[in-house]
């Protein structure tokens, strides 16, 4: 977590342990420092303790050991009224609802500020109108909360929390019932408040990309411990996500926001089918083999790749996946040195895959290399997804070589799925004992 230049952090959690009586530990030795005005996201798989952590900070649960301090004050020593003036919570689930009007429900958020014998003041009314404006619920004012949609109700509950005029807002998956446009809208409002009013926000996120987009800092929990914390870029890494969620993930930088963007691969997609030691060489280019490279990589094959123009999208994918590759300068023909290295790579590989790539004068050498390999008896798989006539920009020589490739015994496949299926069968042939 980033440090506040002056003074103590807004929320400081020190060596927090929590378990229910006779239960297993739910939170294990959590320590966090959350700066004032920051927007912090808590992420992690189900059951990792996200909600429990939120409830501990709100003093809805009392930690077994460890301390939670708000601006230096231990919450142990604060009454629920004092805490409610500092911290507002937006719970994940709303168990049941009596037919109050939305305005009544939001006014309940003013409870910690209302004196028993004075009742609601004009100021309370103003705050209620203001927060209902923020959450776009003013028009629902007289509607019964029992007759609202999940999204409307969620916004009313957020309004109730904001009506507490808190310094800290804790949200437990606040957008779970909202449409995507309302999700963004609400999170924008909350981020705006955090910036304008120095409101400190801690939100449990299910969606990693929403978390990445909105948060200054992220805390990744796993089995009740902090696995990683810091900026989205520091926390959202393939290694962290694999450890936390047991999935393969690919992280790109979003070009617009410069925030990490996460893609998760389905389990079936990433289950290893690669034969140990089987080396596959992919001839790619022009973005035609990026998906294939990913799939082969996550299936556990040992890969090499070539010849790719530097900065081409296949090249970027191969670099991200740390695949061994042969490169050549952008927008130019394949250099003779690159071609030589390429031939050496092909020689080392057990299987060659020729991507569904367009051929022009710049990369016709790649087709030549594939033809060579096939004629020397290497198994070559040809991704023939688009008819060659539409990918031939060489004036016919590519089409002619393509025909020779087929004659030489190369195997033509119609889709990446078909290719992967075929490779799976190879496993049995190539490895009869296993």
């Amino acid at each position: 977590m980033s440090e506040v230049p002056n003074g103590s952090p807004e929320i400081e959690v020190t060596n927090l342990w929590f378990h229910y009586p006779n239960g297993e530990n739910i939170l294990r030795n959590i320590s966090l420092r959350i700066p004032k005005g920051g927007f912090t996201g808590i992420i992690g798989p189900n059951g990792c303790g996200k909600t429990t952590l939120i409830r501990c900070i709100a003093k809805s649960l009392l930690p077994v050991t460890g301390d939670i301090r708000l601006a230096g004050q231990n919450i142990k020593n604060l009454s629920s009224r004092e805490i409610a003036r500092k911290i507002a919570v937006v719970p994940q689930k709303w168990e049941f609802i009596f037919p109050f009007t939305a305005a009544d429900l939001v006014m309940m958020g003013r409870f910690p500020h209302i004196q028993r014998f004075h009742g609601e003041t004009g100021h309370d009314q103003e705050v209620v109108a203001q927060v209902m404006g923020y959450t776009n619920t003013l028009h629902l004012r007289d509607r019964l909360v029992t007759e609202m949609s999940g999204g409307e109700l969620q916004r009313v509950i957020i309004a109730q929390a904001l009506a507490q005029s808190p310094q800290i807002l804790l949200l437990d998956e606040p957008t779970s019932f909202l449409d995507i446009n309302h999700q963004i809208e609400i999170l924008e409002v909350i981020r705006g408040l955090s910036q304008i009013q120095q409101l400190t926000v801690i939100t449990v996120f299910h969606d990693l990309n929403l978390a990445s987009h909105f948060c200054d800092d992220l805390v990744l929990l796993k089995s009740g411990s902090v696995l990683a914390s810091g900026s989205p870029g520091q926390v959202l890494t393939g290694t962290n996500l694999e450890q936390a969620y047991d999935v393969k993930a690919r992280i790109n930088m979003d070009p617009l926001t410069a925030k990490p963007f996460v893609r998760i691969y389905p389990v079936a997609y990433s289950a290893p089918i690669g034969i140990s030691g089987l080396r596959i060489h992919v001839i790619g280019g022009g973005g035609a083999t990026a998906d294939l490279l990913e799939a082969l990589h996550f299936h556990g094959f040992q890969l090499s790749c070539g010849v790719l123009n530097i900065m081409d999208s296949d090249w970027m994918t191969a670099k991200e996946l740390q695949v061994k590759l042969v490169e050549t300068p952008p927008f130019g023909p394949i250099t003779p040195e690159a071609h030589q290295t390429h031939l050496a790579f092909i020689k080392e590989a057990d299987i060659i895959i020729l991507g569904n790539i367009p051929f022009g004068s710049g990369n016709s050498m790649n087709l030549e290399a594939a033809l060579d390999a096939s004629q020397t008896g290497k198994p070559v798989f040809v991704c023939d997804f688009t008819p060659i006539s539409r990918r031939d920009f060489t004036g016919g020589s590519a089409t002619e070589r393509y025909a020779r490739l087929q004659k030489s015994g190369a195997i033509y496949v119609r889709s990446n799925q078909e290719l992967l299926e075929t490779l799976k069968k190879l496993k049995i042939i190539g490895n009869p004992e296993g």
Partner: protein, 351 residues
């Protein structure tokens, strides 16, 4: 289903109509009975009480005694106790967030019943400050059983509501068995015990009004003072705490004040079923869940309901008098079921 767009307006209308019906009922109750009095006579006797009045016609001393010493205290008691049981019902339903909660759930009623049964069975018949032994024993029973259940449910500094509900039901069932046992062992007193258990206002006097009034006034004042807190409790205990409510303290205050209300009521009237369950539900259907409106509306409706029931109980088979508990259940249960079937919101009120 019409939308409650202005709860306040509906509340005002409810109070207005309710007061009108109550007034009519009071008039009816004053005239009706084994001795019929005309409305003119009733008004004459009543106005005669005013210090500046100038009696035009002579007033029958017996009729005056029937009206002022028998009917009037009885009418006032029926209203007070109806209001009290209803308010206690509201408290318990909100506190436990359970639609089945009523003043009998935490054992207060059965405590009172046991106290009264013991006093009758043992043949205690004495008066302290002109109050007979049976209500005193009932009050003592109500308070001590409530404290017992309270302490059974209390764990450390907390008062878990679910546990309190279960402890109350268990203790009530236990006490009911003891009462049945006593009735079997003391068959000679069975009729007296049974008619007390079924509740009623026969032979209640001004002294009973005086005895019960303090508890009830204090209990109602405390409850109304906490109406905002009771609203928060409807959101669930954790949410109420997150909004700044010391829910633990509120639960204790409310359980004690509701017990005070119920103990006061049952010690005078015996156990009257269904009022505390039916009236809050009915009032909630009309004025909504906000206690600011629900408490006064329930008090008014409960007072009216019990007065109507009592008037029926003493007139329908006159001169025989039915226990009022029979009337409340006979009228109340079908009406309650009708309301539930007719109004879907009633069942949705507690999800």
């Amino acid at each position: 289903m019409s939308r409650v767009s202005a709860p306040r307006k509906i509340f005002m209308l409810f109070i207005l109509v309710g007061c009108f019906i109550l007034l009519l009922t009071i008039m009816l109750a004053l005239t009706a009975g084994s001795v019929r009095l005309s409305l003119g006579k009733v008004l004459q006797i009543l106005t005669n009480l005013l210090p500046w009045s100038n009696p035009e016609a002579p007033i029958d001393a017996i009729e005056q005694k029937i009206l002022l010493d028998l009917r009037l205290p009885r009418i006032i008691l029926a209203m007070i106790i109806g209001a009290t049981l209803s308010i206690a019902g509201v408290i318990f339903q909100s506190l436990f967030r359970n639609p089945m909660a009523d003043p009998s759930v935490i054992g207060t009623s059965s405590g009172a019943a046991l106290g009264a049964t013991l006093a009758i069975a043992a043949g205690f018949d004495f008066r302290i400050m002109n109050i007979s032994s049976v209500p005193l024993a009932a009050f003592a029973g109500a308070v001590s059983v409530t404290l017992l259940v309270y302490n059974l449910a209390r764990t450390g500094n907390r008062l878990p509501m679910a546990f309190m509900l279960l402890a109350g039901i268990a203790v009530s069932t236990f006490l009911s068995s003891i009462i049945s046992l006593i009735m079997i062992l003391r068959r000679t007193e069975m009729y007296n015990i049974l008619s007390w258990l079924m509740g009623g206002f026969a032979l209640r006097r001004w002294s009973d009004v005086v005895m019960v009034l303090p508890y009830i006034v204090i209990g109602i004042l405390i409850t109304v003072m906490f109406s905002r807190e009771l609203n928060l409790m409807l959101l669930g205990e954790e949410r109420a705490r997150q909004l700044g409510l010391n829910s633990n303290r509120l639960q204790k205050i409310m359980v004690l004040s509701a017990s005070l209300l119920v103990a006061g009521a049952v010690s005078i009237s015996g156990v009257i079923g269904f009022v505390g369950l039916l009236v809050p539900h009915m009032a909630r259907l009309v004025v909504g869940p906000d206690h600011k409106y629900l408490l006064p509306a329930s008090a008014l409706a409960g007072g009216t309901f019990l007065l109507i029931s009592d008037t029926i109980s003493r007139t329908v088979l006159a001169p025989l008098e039915l226990p009022v508990g029979i009337v409340t259940s006979l009228c109340g249960a079908p009406f309650f079921i009708y309301l539930l079937r007719k109004n879907k919101r009633a069942s949705e009120t507690f999800k």
